[in-house]
Symmetry: C2
Subunit: 119 residues, 2 copies
């Protein structure tokens, strides 16, 4: 067994990717791609509950994927780094080619974000 010394790095990197690995968080990141939004606007745009949104925002903020800027009683959030956008674009591009496989992957569930309906 190789103890490649990068073990901790891999664990941290996995944790980073998990920021993107939840449909609710990804919805939030997605709506922030068009520009900064307040929490209320994010709630409205994603259909997530207020506390759920706030929880995920705390997670994304702690992880450094989004930035918070308080203004009075509002807090405006935005993507913190251009690479967040790049990662999403790359994921989107990759997904376009492997979507069918991802859809069929049964090791873990798809976890549709709560509160969003569908036609």
């Amino acid at each position: 067994m190789i103890l490649n010394g990068d073990t901790r790095g891999v664990a941290l990197q996995a944790k980073l990717f998990r920021g993107f690995g939840d449909a609710s968080r990804l919805s939030i990141l997605d709506v922030l791609r068009e520009g900064p939004l307040t929490v209320g606007e994010i709630v409205e745009a994603t259909g997530l509950s207020q506390s759920n949104t706030s929880n995920h925002l705390a997670c994304l903020r702690d992880c450094g994927l989004v930035m918070a800027e308080p203004q009075g009683r509002y807090v405006t959030y935005s993507l913190s780094d251009p690479r967040v956008r790049e990662l999403m674009a790359l994921g989107e591009s990759l997904l376009a080619d492997v979507a069918r496989g991802v859809y069929q992957c049964t090791r873990y569930e798809e976890t549709e974000p709560v509160g969003t309906e569908e036609g």
Copy 2:
């Protein structure tokens, strides 16, 4: 609430990112970056158990992140798309700048891959 019609896309994309969002799977992807390996070699390189490795490989294969090529009783795995490599590189780069934040993020745990020790 905006029903942006991309809801399903977001859910799928989240699922794709979860392929990278587990330390064991990421270890596997990581060792495959240097070139194709058989299952046994992956087991040795990562320190994961055989069945655990096989389970994760099935997941990664189904999702289209890795390719399997059976040769006799061996099965050689390799990354299936250059974008997998790119995504990892981008994640690594982003992590270099936000590592402290990720480390402190307490919403979910770090899930060190089992079987790898540390100094």
